[in-house]
Homo-oligomer: 142 residues x 4
């Protein structure tokens, strides 16, 4: 039988801050200032921090990575070359394939995404992993 | 002789979080969930929180209020009617005259702005005041 | 007989700077820091200065005023209320009816426009007048 | 203890004009008409000149180069291929990797950026270098 509604989970601001603070702490430990964005499943911002020395332009890329992972339910940076840029253009820069975005998944439910920007792709990815790992029960990518 | 540079001050992430946390605490005490945005003098986001129950669309208005106060060095909501909407259109929605935006001023230097959105104009304004009041030496508007 | 081409005049950078510098000097004499934009007949920027203390958001409004006057060949601020805002929306904020925009006209030929922003409408208008008056032979509006 | 504010420096219009005029003089000496944009640390325009014969479309690219260098604190044109275009898309055309953008740095503090457009990448870069070199104490890139 097809149900008209289905149970879901929602990330609170407390949860978003937990993830954000863990990411900021990891970036500080790495000595790489970062922009850290946490978004809901609709890609809308829940919490954001730009660390001292991170680029203000990276607000946009951090948010785009977080939104992409929230929408796809997958890490960013893994799409085949060529297709990725066409999708970026078709979505006016929203669906972006730069490493540093991760979905926030609990019990198979996508609660949002985290996106990191200002470092190298690998640095960004590590910080995103540390953020997601701070949420008990979240699917890990490290 | 006109100098090529002049001394200034910069708000750190620690300072932005101080302001943001005070605003969130005030909104919680009022029982009104809010979007809270803190921006630098160029209007770029330093820190953001969307409280549980606040509107995701209010990210844009909170940010616009913060940016407007950061650019003008004045509270939002005080421009004469008619002119305000024309300025909003001329700046493509950037310069907005809804109450709830305050500049962050220390020693006569505009360090950025705070913008609040999701409540009534008066609620937003009170939360912005509480945010600014948390920064030692900042010009107060309450 | 209908000609295929017709003679025209073009404003040089030297001419644009003459107008801009006169506007900046007038604003300084008034003690009102301003954004000053000079555009060509296509509305594209030729020269711009933001004076110390003028609002960065006023780049957009100064440019919009200059573009509106370059396109209409008339001062801004004189359109009937109601229609003006509809035209602003229809042109995505380009055709704006805030005072402070003037066409640059020599021998009946529109060479561009000047737009001023950061002061009151009347202050902006006076600065624009001073800018245009600096160009020998230009139609004056003061 | 982490401080809420930190000392900084600000570029005046006088400083921006010094840089702009030196860039225009260099471009004139090279016989290559250019668009020259000088922005503050938030990427907002301080001063602009389009030389006779330069392309009006290069306003956008000159501004984007200046903004990119102001945000990153680095010359444009040095990012690895592939990543650069993804970052441009993620920032909706703001973060651009064409040569001709330089940060304006004094005492380790990024005061803004200069961006040049209408020539070849190498011509643009040389003009930007001449602009920055005109500011006493600024970090040089030639």
């Amino acid at each position: 039988m097809t149900e008209a509604t289905t149970p879901s989970l929602r990330l609170t601001l407390a949860g978003a801050r937990l993830i954000l603070d863990a990411a900021v702490a990891k970036a500080a430990a790495m000595g790489v200032p970062q922009c850290v964005a946490v978004v809901d499943p609709g890609g809308h911002l829940l919490a954001f921090n730009r660390m001292d020395g991170a680029l203000w332009m990276s607000f946009d890329s951090a948010q785009a990575k977080a939104r992409t992972s929230a929408s796809t339910g997958k890490p960013t940076g893994l799409m085949p070359p060529g297709v990725d840029d066409k999708l970026a253009m078709a979505t006016r820069g929203q669906r972006i394939n730069l490493p540093g975005g991760l979905p926030i998944i609990v019990d198979g439910c996508v609660l949002g995404g985290i996106g990191i920007g200002s470092g190298t792709g690998e640095e960004d990815r590590q910080v995103a992993c540390a953020g997601v790992a701070a949420l008990a029960g979240a699917t890990r990518f490290d």
